[in-house]
Symmetry: C2
Subunit: 294 residues, 2 copies
């Protein structure tokens, strides 16, 4: 059996940057450090951070002092405000691409657009963007959603950074049909798109795909979903412990990818895990565990 | 045979308004009156206007004095400027919906958008709008066209007022895929859309359709094309003289519509024309020649 790793698998710029900021903060501070929700959507990485003293919280209710790291997905301005009022020190690790979506949403609100945010209503990134988009903003997850809302004639559109361009394009094409003005900022992050394209490209060449990443990671789930939609057997796992020998029984080539919040060390562990399964007849070819050629 | 007239057939608001302005100008002036190109795209109406002293010109080269009526389709600002320099009196009969498209194009240009105009490159309305949209503006007539241009990342979109919403929607959905910002003004005139929808609705109920209007009228041509695309026999005529008996040989129900620049008196003449053909067995039912119920 041959193992191939997709291009663009693993950490994106925003996640890498947030982790760097977190490590630096931990190194240089003696007061408690918190994040609201996990810093990134990967339980194994968050566990490592906890060892450095970075504690994820569900809310700020019982916190009186310390540093609050704003996680890569960002948070609504009202929450930042209340953290400031408590006297917490704010360290902003919001992904710059997410920040751009927030800024565009805020600008649109100030210019009297009703803002439509394409994304998953429950995702923290979307919650943050909606905080900047104003009270009459709405969240849709596809073009069919739009008709549930009575929208104004002056619409601004921004997107969760991990959405697919195809869905954004459909949403906008519906809005344009009966609105006088539609102003769209394509705030989808290129790295998400590249990662998805690379995963689908690899999926066409292999017999099954392993997608590594947090079960709470929206972009990892979407990677798995996209691959499955093409009819390729695909398994979404968090760690190498979940690998099952049965998945590889009729498989000559297996493809691997990881979400934006999946560390390379975890991808490497999964590769090693598959290697170990090879003791009973699976042959692992390739030396570069970071990027195997397709 | 029964004859049905589509809802919304004939003169639109902008054409009716332009004709009103032209008639008033002719009544109250003793100096020569000109239009650049025909006031509206209907040769029979233009002929009537000529009798009132309103002369359509191809250009202003040999004109030294008089009144220039800006026709319903509008003209580029540079042409208005040169008419003013000649000392001509300007009477503006530009359709207010076309004017809105011009104003949005101008606003987008001033705000540093590269303007994409959806429309027919050779149509005077588009030529006018492009005049306001700036030197780097481009004209496309469908979504396939877009890839012919290397466009900026900040795109403004306006449409010729008579385009179909479906095509606008497709063009925008393409642009959104790889541009950072796309700001769309849907400047399509509702009356065009309503006329098209009513024609298609009627076409489903009848055996053949007669579309009355100038052969130089883009919106009339599009009406005929839309009906033909649905597989209904459709005949685009300017006057009742073009009616052919053979068209109605196997026809129980005939539908009629007219473009935005088609006067009601011409539609009535066509109805009378079909009536006359009925002498040999065609039965004309209906009393309201303006709007026969479907």
């Amino acid at each position: 059996m041959e193992i191939y790793l997709a291009q663009n698998a693993g950490f994106c710029f925003g996640v890498e940057r947030a982790l760097g900021i977190a490590h630096d903060t931990a190194k240089n501070s003696s007061i408690p450090i918190y994040t609201l929700g996990p810093l990134i959507h990967n339980p194994q990485v968050v566990e490592e951070l906890r060892k450095e003293g970075i504690i994820p919280l569900e809310n700020l209710d019982n916190i009186k002092e310390g540093i609050l790291i704003i996680r890569s997905h960002g948070i609504p301005p009202s929450v930042i405000e209340s953290a400031r009022e408590k006297g917490l020190t704010i360290v902003d690790a919001t992904c710059p691409f997410v920040k751009q979506a927030q800024e565009k949403a805020e600008m649109l609100r100030k210019a009297d657009y009703q803002v439509v945010v394409l994304g998953e209503r429950e995702h923290p990134e979307v919650e943050g963007i909606l905080g900047f988009a104003g009270e009459n903003a709405v969240c849709v997850n596809d073009h069919n959603n739009i008709k549930n809302f009575s929208l104004s004639n002056k619409i601004g559109v921004v997107s969760q950074t991990t959405q697919s361009v195809r869905v954004l394009s459909r949403v906008v094409s519906e809005l344009v049909k009966n609105k006088r003005e539609v102003r769209v900022f394509n705030t989808i992050c290129t790295s998400t798109q590249l990662r998805q394209e690379a995963a689908l490209k690899l999926a066409r060449e292999v017999d099954c795909m392993i997608i590594v990443g947090g079960r709470n990671s929206a972009n990892t789930k979407r990677l798995a979903q996209l691959v499955k939609e093409r009819g390729i057997p695909a398994y979404h796992i968090e760690t190498e412990k979940e690998l099952e020998k049965g998945w590889f029984s009729d498989v000559d080539k297996v493809g691997l990818t990881g979400g934006a919040s999946t560390p390379n060390w975890m991808i490497q562990r999964v590769i090693e895990g598959i290697r170990k399964l090879s003791e009973t007849g699976l042959a692992y070819k390739g030396t570069d565990v970071k990027r195997l050629p397709i």
